[in-house]
């Protein structure tokens, strides 16, 4: 967010805020322990608003659930912004001092009247207005989101629309306020922190900044490395398609199952000249590989750090001996480097980390010793006397503002790419269940009394209209393919809305149905919105 990518608040703040908007997030099931903090907030009197097409278990805790149509988040956010502006509740002083782009933004949201928003989102205008006013009037309020915001073809715009609301009302940079993407995987944040994004080096430092580039190059003994931005995941697949990318080294990912439009993804991976997969399992992707490098499990068989959704860097430790032949990621990479003619030596995880601390100012104060002592430290932590940073952007409240001002961006509503038609009349959205994770590679290995197999969840009314019974196997088809899947009635779904998970790809390959329409900036596909048809078999 306006610079470094990370949630601005601490979990603890959710316990002491007045209002939380969970936007496109079923944290109750996908981030259960974050939800504990939120529940403490609720017990302390905080109100909860849930924005989600489904009335999830998180929605059941909410004071207000706004059941928007899939992919209408920007229409909702812009309409809320307009309500706030017209009610005179915009924080004019904050906007003037700490933000840019207000005029253009205000002009843009002017078109999003409550009537337009009700038409686009399905949510009654009065409810939109009330939530907008409540957010603006709350002394402290935070917005938290997950994949409901980011798994869209316009993911970045969605995020910007939420940021706009916080900037408009001054709900960022203060205790109990903030903008928090809840990370879906245990080290998504850490991956970003370490520069595993195309244009960044560790600590979100700009690869294309010559001074930065020079600093890293010098530290690495004058090593040569690109000055220009690389591909993100979706661009890689496009490059494979165009024949520009011929070899791929995948570490700990299962794109053959996790990519949208699975048929296409598998085809492209199979067509590579050289595919190396480093993983703890022989995944479906690994089965396609020319070389498989068995790895130790990062969280239980090796040493290192991860970063969580409140930017807390935490230690992972070796509790188990890895199986014979499986090696630590650091060892594999160093070995590989050696074979490629560059000797990294045999560093320990701590030595690698200390190098990172030297090069990344936001990590400098985080020695292993301090991480142990403090139970993790939230970045930025510039030196060893620094306690870490519970919330970001306090600088926006300094007068004059410390650092660059935060931009408001005019963003427009753009409905899902996969349009609903007579042929494909049902909106399929996807998500997670409490006891399972992603493609199920890890979670399907333990017995969960909660687990039921994959099913296509639809409203009982749709079932009746289609003449299918609860439990009956049907064919679900999208413009990309079709799968056979049992029906399950879910009375929390409204007619026209269907739900599936990605947890059981071997039983039902949900991603055969999903669309790979992708956000150009973040590279995320629109898993949340496919158009499907249901046929009896």
């Amino acid at each position: 967010m306006f610079g470094a990518g990370g949630g601005t608040s601490s979990y603890r703040e959710a316990e002491e805020t007045n209002l939380v908007i969970l936007w496109g997030s079923n944290a109750r099931e996908t981030h259960p322990i974050f939800f504990h903090h939120l529940l403490r907030g609720i017990r302390n009197g905080a109100r909860l608003v849930a924005v989600d097409p489904r009335r999830t278990s998180s929605g059941e805790w909410a004071d207000v659930w706004l059941g928007i149509d899939v992919g209408s988040d920007i229409a909702l956010a812009n309409a809320m912004a307009r309500v706030i502006i017209h009610a005179g509740l915009a924080n004019d002083e904050f906007i003037a001092r700490a933000t840019t782009g207000y005029e253009e933004f205000a002009a843009c949201v002017e078109a999003y009247t409550l009537e337009v928003a009700e038409r686009e989102t399905g949510v009654p205008a009065a409810a939109i207005r009330d939530v907008a006013l409540e957010y603006a009037r709350a002394e402290r309020a935070m917005i938290c989101w997950t994949l409901g915001i980011t798994e869209h073809h316009n993911a970045t715009d969605n995020v910007l629309a939420l940021i706009n609301l916080a900037l408009l009302t001054g709900k960022v940079g203060r205790y109990g306020c903030g903008l928090n993407p809840l990370r879906g995987q245990n080290n998504v944040q850490g991956g970003g922190d370490m520069g595993a994004i195309p244009a960044r080096l560790p600590g979100f430092q700009d690869l294309q900044d010559p001074a930065i580039h020079e600093k890293f190059s010098r530290a690495w003994g004058g090593a040569e490395f690109p000055h220009t931005k690389g591909y993100h995941l979706t661009e890689m697949f496009e490059a494979m398609e165009h024949g520009e990318l011929k070899a791929l080294y995948i570490v700990g990912e299962n794109p053959a199952r996790s990519e949208a439009d699975q048929t296409r993804a598998v085809g492209l991976l199979s067509g590579l000249e050289h595919l190396v997969v480093q993983d703890i399992f022989l995944t479906q992707t690994a089965e396609l590989a020319h070389v498989v490098l068995p790895a130790a499990a990062g969280w239980a068989e090796s040493e290192g750090t991860v970063t969580n959704s409140e930017r807390r860097v935490q230690r992972v430790r070796r509790a188990l001996e890895p199986p014979a032949g499986a090696r630590d990621d650091v060892d594999i990479i160093c070995d590989l480097a050696r074979r490629l003619g560059c000797d990294f030596g045999n560093p320990t995880a701590e030595q690698v980390w200390d190098e990172c601390r030297r090069l990344s100012p936001m990590h400098t104060g985080m020695s292993y010793g301090r991480l142990d002592e403090l139970g993790g430290i939230q970045w930025p932590c510039p030196d060893e006397s620094h306690p870490g940073t519970p919330f970001l952007h306090a600088r926006l409240w300094e007068d004059p503002v410390g650092g660059p001002r935060a931009p408001l961006f005019a963003v427009e509503h753009d409905p899902p790419v996969d349009r609903l038609t007579e042929e494909f009349p049902i909106r399929l959205t996807t998500g997670r269940r409490l006891d399972s994770f992603n493609t199920g590679v890890q979670t399907n290995e333990y017995t969960s009394p909660l687990r039921s197999k994959e099913a296509l969840l639809i409203s009982p009314a749709d079932g009746e209209r289609l003449g299918v019974a609860d439990g009956e196997s049907v064919r679900a088809s999208s413009r990309r393919g079709s799968v056979q899947v049992p029906i399950r009635f879910d009375s929390t779904l409204r007619p026209g809305l269907a739900f599936m998970t990605l947890h059981f790809p071997d039983q039902v390959a949900t991603n055969v149905l999903t669309i790979d329409a992708t956000d150009p900036k973040s590279g995320t596909a629109e898993f949340k919105a496919s158009a499907i048809r249901i046929d009896k078999v």
């Binding site: 609720i42 109100r47 278990s57 059941e60 805790w61 004071d63 207000v64 659930w65 059941g67 928007i68």
Partner: protein, 598 residues
């Protein structure tokens, strides 16, 4: 709240019972049919969860309508009120009057407690057992029903759309059998009060308890007018100077309590009238509510005025259907005549002695298990719903009327220096004229028993249980004890709730003691270890002690009882555990099982 219900749908009758309290559901999300608006918006959260206090009224509605609370019914209630079913199950199983297994619509609750025992309840029960099988289904044994002046007593309950609940006392085998066979029952009437001077009880018998006009003709609402003239501080001053002490058992200075609530900065303030009179042998509050209900309502109005309470509750024990109806009628009439400017909600107990403990009572009103809270904090600071709360017993409140009208000095002229005013005593057991007696504080126990005509001819006194099960036994030699707070304290006894159960030489003391031990075992809420396990061990050891031949009890068992008693007294959360050994300890002295000084 994400509630999971898997028990199947409620029946139409169960739904009607719940909806009768809550109104029809307005959306899919609270258990109704899908409405188009439900597709895109739902409201819940704090607003839904704040309905928790409606749980007991809803459970009563189901129990009244169907005779038991099924899983489907409970889950429907839970969905409507946003209460997790496991929590609601914990609540429903806490209260003896709610059933979670299917039962016949008709139930007869037969009291086998102390006073009724003296009047042949055990024989009655064995006849019923003979005719209808063991207690538990169509008929059941009940702790004291508060009808000790007309023992033996029973309560008839018939579930259905027109639910019936009637006290029958005295009950005979013939009547009980007739009722259980589906027949009729005789109308039960209050006992005429003895013809002697009365203050607190002066309107009883003189007024029509269902008419506010009749109440006003007899001086009703003079006190409220006077209170308004005095102003809140003036009222509190009078109550304080009258040195009125609470009549519920703890004898706390009423004026000080009122002052604390009035000065509590947190808002709102609540007033709770504790009418959960469940101490075995006690029926004074029932008599006041049944026969002079407007006085209770007027006194609550004055108390609320003086202490700035915005909302009132009157928690009446579930076994008092007539009192409940009379109080509800009085509140309605007071409202209609403009004598009541705040809400008083009548709450109905559901068979739990512990709810007479003030903090347990709060939890019960809040829709929870009636488990007492640790004190401090005290109710005057953190009470009902966590707010400053004034809790007074019925008799305490009614005393306020005379204090306000006649002034503190006149009130304090009656009684003793430390125990002012009169006191109501509930005489029952082996006494000539059981009933409610009002005497000045300081009257001797001997004089009180004589007022009631003494023992029956040819009988000798064995003991008097003063203060109910939580009280203690007083011997023949102690009959000259003045009945005042300080007088009873001097002999290690207590006035308690004003129960005076007289036992002559025909009473089986062992059975009496065992009944008391069972009472505490049954009524312990189960929260704290000393009381939960202590009351069980006490009963077990007592059985051993009493089944030994006289004087033969093992000294180790006697020591055990003493040890248990001390731990219960010292370490229990609330008064129930702290007093659960009193009567038994003193009764063993009476039986010469334990030497007075040993």
């Amino acid at each position: 709240m994400d509630i999971r219900t898997t028990g199947g749908p409620p029946t139409a009758e169960e739904m009607a019972a719940v909806d009768g309290v809550l109104g029809d559901p307005t959306s899919l999300w609270e258990g109704g049919a899908r409405h188009p608006a439900d597709d895109h918006v739902a409201f819940g959260g704090h607003a839904t969860r704040s309905q928790r206090p409606l749980l007991l009224p809803v459970l009563h509605a189901i129990q009244d309508r169907v005779g038991w609370v099924s899983r489907g019914a409970l889950e429907y209630a839970c969905r409507r009120l946003s209460i997790p079913p496991a929590e609601a199950y914990g609540v429903v199983t806490f209260y003896a009057r709610f059933a979670t297994d299917e039962r016949p619509a008709m139930a007869l609750h037969v009291c086998d407690d102390l006073a009724c025992k003296c009047a042949g309840a055990d024989e009655l029960c064995s006849e019923l057992e003979h005719a209808f099988g063991p207690a538990g289904n169509s008929w059941r044994r009940s702790p004291c029903l508060g009808l000790c002046d007309r023992a033996p007593a029973a309560l008839v309950e018939r579930a259905g759309a027109s639910h019936q609940e009637v006290q029958v006392a005295p009950v005979t085998v013939e009547v009980a059998v007739e009722v259980l066979r589906g027949g009729r029952w005789p109308e039960s009437v209050n006992r005429p009060l003895p013809d002697r001077p009365r203050k607190l009880l002066r309107r009883i018998g003189a007024i029509d308890p269902e008419s506010i006009d009749s109440y006003r003709e007899h001086g009703g609402y003079v006190a409220l007018r006077r209170a308004i003239e005095l102003g809140p501080e003036g009222v509190i001053r009078e109550v304080t100077e009258a040195r009125l002490l609470g009549r519920g058992g703890a004898a706390f200075p009423t004026g000080r309590k009122w002052d604390s609530v009035a000065k509590a900065p947190v808002r709102p303030h609540y007033i709770v009238c504790n009418a959960d009179e469940s101490e075995p042998g006690t029926f004074k509050d029932r008599e006041l509510m049944e026969r002079d209900p407007f006085a209770v309502v007027e006194a609550m109005t004055i108390a609320a005025f003086a202490t700035g309470c915005e909302q009132g509750y009157l928690y009446v024990r579930g076994e008092y259907p007539l009192a409940r109806r009379r109080i509800e009628n009085a509140i309605n009439q007071a409202h209609a005549h403009g004598f009541l400017n705040f809400e008083i909600e009548v709450r109905r107990g559901a068979g739990a002695y512990i709810c007479g403990e003030e903090t347990a009572l709060f939890n019960s009103i809040e829709g929870k298990r009636g488990e007492p809270r640790n004190k401090p904090p005290f109710p005057v600071q953190v009470g009902l719903f966590g707010k400053p709360t004034l809790v007074n017993n019925v008799e305490t409140l009614v005393n306020v009327l005379d204090i306000v009208v006649d002034g503190a000095v006149a009130f304090a002229a009656t009684g003793t220096q430390d125990s002012t005013g009169t006191r109501l005593f509930c005489l029952s057991g082996n006494v000539h004229e059981p009933g409610l007696y009002e005497v000045p504080m300081g009257t001797t126990l001997r004089a009180l028993i004589e007022l009631a005509g003494g023992l029956r001819d040819g009988r000798t006194l064995q003991a008097v249980l003063l203060g109910g099960a939580a009280g203690s036994f007083v011997t023949e030699q102690q009959l000259d004890v003045p009945l005042s707070f300080e007088g009873t304290r001097a002999i290690g006894a207590t006035l308690g709730s004003g129960a005076v159960i007289v036992l002559d030489d025909t009473a089986d003391m062992k059975q009496i003691l065992l009944r008391i031990a069972r009472f505490f075992r049954d009524e312990s809420c189960g929260q704290c270890v000393p009381c939960r396990v202590g009351t069980v061990r006490q009963e077990e050891v007592l059985h051993r002690v009493l089944s030994a031949r006289n004087g033969d009890a093992h000294s180790s068992d006697i020591n055990l009882l003493t040890d248990i008693a001390q731990a219960m007294r010292d370490a229990s959360i609330c008064g129930l555990g702290q007093t659960a050994a009193n009567a038994i300890s003193s009764g063993l002295i009476q039986l010469n099982v334990v030497a007075r000084d040993g």
